[in-house]
């Protein structure tokens, strides 16, 4: 065994590791980073992609048309166990309505704990999520297709299509469920329930998958019918389970890529002795050295972000990638683990139906009272259990996740639904150290914050990370182009990397822009239009691969960057031209989320056009003048490794 030993200095072996762990799955990692970064604003993206909702008016919480919302709920779901009203906020100006059917009779009591309104995650879809957890607990006992639950669950599990999905206003939907183990889901999928002819509402505006089933203008109470769209959820799903394959495969591929990323990051840090100095070093116009400087700067600038996002990404996949922890502690019974987690959450009394009707108390007064209790913090959602009954209970939940370390608990207040009297609210348990760490990792990865500033910082760090990966991939190529420029023909491996670089960096930008264009160009009533938005993304991406093969590298870079830049920069115009609220209007009416999308598209488009211009103007110098001691240059070990490997 020792015959094959090749002892090398530590930095040399680490730089080899850095190069190859980064390159092997670098293109996939770039796509994951870019789509993941966009996912910080997936609610805003989804809202942009439903121009029908843009005319929603921005109103103060006390002026919301609660009466109209309640009248609609009473008409649509008179027998519901729970109604949920999602209030408008900075991330979504509309009012969302959803409801939950009474528990089915065939469900065994105790299949899962009954709780009036779960406090485990987000606003808006709590009903759906509660239901979902219960479905899973009861999945094996339940007759398939026994009730309306079936169609809804099936709809929920059809995540890849994700067509009707419309996230709650804060985006913290299903903080835990999204990436939770698939076993229980599989049980449900194994007994596919009959599709119900189903209420038409489920086809529109949200419905089905966790989102509200009805979307209203909060001021007038008028129903808004958003087009079917995958929305920001397509990019979000893609970033952790890819597309067009079994979800478990997609997750494994992304999980393994994440492990590569982790190794590349830490070995990169070990390679860089002079990490602080490199951060202030940028020498433009020097070919590979400039790319290395750029790679170093973008890496070091947000290194804590990269480490946290990578590690938390792995931990989010923990149940899948480290199953032995659950097996040894719970003998493989994952539901027991969940139950133990759940048992720690505060339990409220479940109201029992009295059978007597009574009118609901004034919601606006409750919202005002809650806001006062919380020192002005806005209310995120209102859950009304047993609506219309004398024993109705109203629970108000705060918007956003106020605590980083206690993320699963959102402050909530409970009121008697008829008298408006305050009910006892179970205290939020203090998390232990491990739970606090887990919660912080989770919330940081997902950007669940009540205020926009941290989300913007995460977004910018994500942009920096995307640049880090892109520049790292280019360093590999540029280093070799320099060495082989004298040769008649580059080795096929170099050509492969070059094509992959072009199509997976510039081409991905084209594909994302085309995805947004498709959203506006496919008619709103087109059948399966949401699927076509996704197909447009992949068709455009495939075309960029063909283009990258067919064209000379420089021309391919310029054309694809220019194409992506042009398409992005024109997004505000196509938004205005196809029924969306134009930029002056969105700024004027204070719809920051819409103006933010348009302005970001402009900025990204301008950046890509500038990059195209720079590449076009670029004339590679015949030979780089070496200056100073090559061994002390930043990235010297990288190059050594690259040259050695080549």
């Amino acid at each position: 065994m020792t015959t094959f030993d090749q002892a090398r200095p530590l930095r040399q072996s680490m730089s080899w590791l850095h190069t190859w762990s980064g390159l092997t799955l670098g293109w996939l990692l770039f796509a994951v980073y870019v789509t993941g970064t966009l996912s910080y604003f997936r609610n805003e993206i989804t809202f942009w992609m439903q121009p029908e909702l843009h005319r929603a008016q921005v109103v103060a919480p006390e002026r919301i048309a609660y009466d109209r919302a309640l009248a609609l709920l009473a008409r649509e779901a008179p027998d519901a166990q729970q109604w949920t009203i999602t209030l408008p906020g900075a991330r979504n100006p509309t009012l969302g309505l959803s409801w939950q059917s009474p528990p089915a009779e065939n469900r065994q009591p105790g299949a899962a704990r009954e709780r009036p309104a779960n406090r485990e995650g987000a606003r808006g879809e709590e009903g759906a999520r509660e239901n979902r957890g219960r479905d899973r607990g009861a999945a094996t006992r339940e007759r398939p297709g026994a009730d309306g639950e079936g169609a809804r669950r099936e709809n929920r599990e059809r995540v890849q299509a994700a067509t009707r999905e419309r996230p709650s206003a804060d985006g913290e939907e299903s903080a835990i469920d999204d990436v939770e183990p698939l076993e229980a889901t599989r049980q449900a999928e194994a007994n596919p329930p009959q599709r119900q002819a189903g209420p038409q509402r489920q086809q529109q505006g949200g419905g089905g998958h966790r989102g509200p089933r009805l979307v209203l203008d909060p001021a007038s109470g008028e129903t808004l019918e958003g087009r079917a769209t995958a929305g920001g959820n397509f990019l979000y799903r893609f970033h952790f389970e890819l597309y067009g394959m079994d979800r478990i495969w997609g997750r494994w591929i992304v999980g393994i890529a994440t492990m590569f990323m982790f190794v590349a990051l830490v070995s990169g840090v070990i390679v860089h002795r002079r990490i602080f100095k490199d951060f202030f070093t940028f020498r433009p116009g020097k070919g590979k050295r400039s790319w290395l400087d750029g790679h170093n700067a973008s890496s070091v600038l947000s290194l804590p972000f990269h480490l946290i996002i990578t590690f938390s990404g792995l931990v989010l996949f923990g149940h899948m990638m480290m199953p032995t922890a659950f097996q040894s502690a719970y003998q493989g019974n994952f539901l027991a683990y969940r139950e133990a987690m759940r048992a720690r959450m505060p339990q409220s009394e479940t109201p029992r139906p009295s059978g007597e009707r009574a009118p609901l108390t004034d919601l606006a007064a409750l919202v005002a009272a809650a806001q006062q209790t919380w020192g002005g913090k806005p209310v995120g959602s209102i859950a009304i259990t047993l609506p219309g009954d004398r024993n109705a209970v109203v629970e108000l939940r705060q918007m956003g996740f106020p605590s980083l370390t206690n993320g699963r608990n959102v402050p909530a207040l409970r009121f008697n639904g008829v008298t408006g009297e305050r009910l006892a609210t179970p205290a939020l348990p203090e998390p232990g150290a491990v739970q606090a760490i887990g919660s912080a990792l989770n919330l940081l990865h997902r950007g669940f914050f009540a205020t926009p500033v941290p989300r913007w910082l995460l977004f910018l760090s994500g942009v920096g990370g995307s640049l880090m990966i892109a520049s790292g991939l280019l360093v590999w190529s540029v280093a070799r182009a320099r060495k082989t420029s004298g040769a008649a023909r580059a080795p096929w491996g170099h050509r492969l990397v070059e094509v992959l670089n072009i199509a997976s960096i510039a081409g991905l930008m084209v594909a994302i822009a085309v995805h947004f264009w498709a959203n506006r160009l496919i008619p709103a009533d087109w059948p399966a239009r949401a699927d076509w938005e996704i197909r447009a993304f992949f068709i455009a991406w495939a075309v960029t691969f063909v283009h990258a093969i067919a064209r000379r590298p420089k021309a391919a870079w310029v054309e694809q960057l220019a194409c992506a830049g042009g398409l992005s920069a024109l997004l505000p115009l196509i938004n205005a031209a196809t029924g969306g609220l134009a930029l002056p209007g969105s700024i004027g009416r204070g719809l920051g989320l819409l103006a933010g999308f348009d302005l970001c598209a402009l900025a990204i488009g301008a950046g890509l056009l500038f990059a195209a211009y720079k590449v076009r103007r670029h004339a590679p110098p015949a030979r780089f003048a070496a200056s100073g001691d090559p061994a002390t240059e930043p990235g010297a070990p990288l190059r050594e490794a690259a040259e050695e490997a080549a």
Binding site: M1, D5, S13, L314, H319, M322, P323, A329, G432
Partner: protein, 102 residues
């Protein structure tokens, strides 16, 4: 052993085999160590609230894998690389066994 002589004398082939073995150690050995470590830690960490032990075991499992990968490539010889994985694996294995027969 003519073949072996060729393998040892040809530096390119020798390097490739070295790298291939280290990669295998890092990927499979490292992951195996992580799975074993996560199992032992989840069952053995003394937390009152069992899910805490599980969460921490998962986190430490990924860190174990990372460390194992770095070690597999950093160790001066292949033997040391392998021993560096085998010793902690034996430790976690014994811990798990002791928990089982307690």
């Amino acid at each position: 052993m003519k073949t072996q002589g060729w393998l040892v004398s040809n530096p390119t082939v020798r390097h490739r085999i070295d790298v291939g073995l280290r990669t295998g150690l890092a990927a499979f050995g490292g992951y195996g160590l992580a799975l074993l470590g996560a199992a032992a830690l989840a069952a053995g960490l003394p937390f009152d609230f069992k899910p805490d032990a599980v969460s921490l075991a998962v986190m430490l499992g990924f860190l174990l894998h990372l460390t194992a990968v770095l070690w597999a490539f950093a160790a001066a010889t292949l033997l040391r690389a392998a021993l560096g994985l085998a010793v902690p694996a034996a430790f976690f294995g014994l811990w798990l066994l002791s928990l089982h027969y307690r």
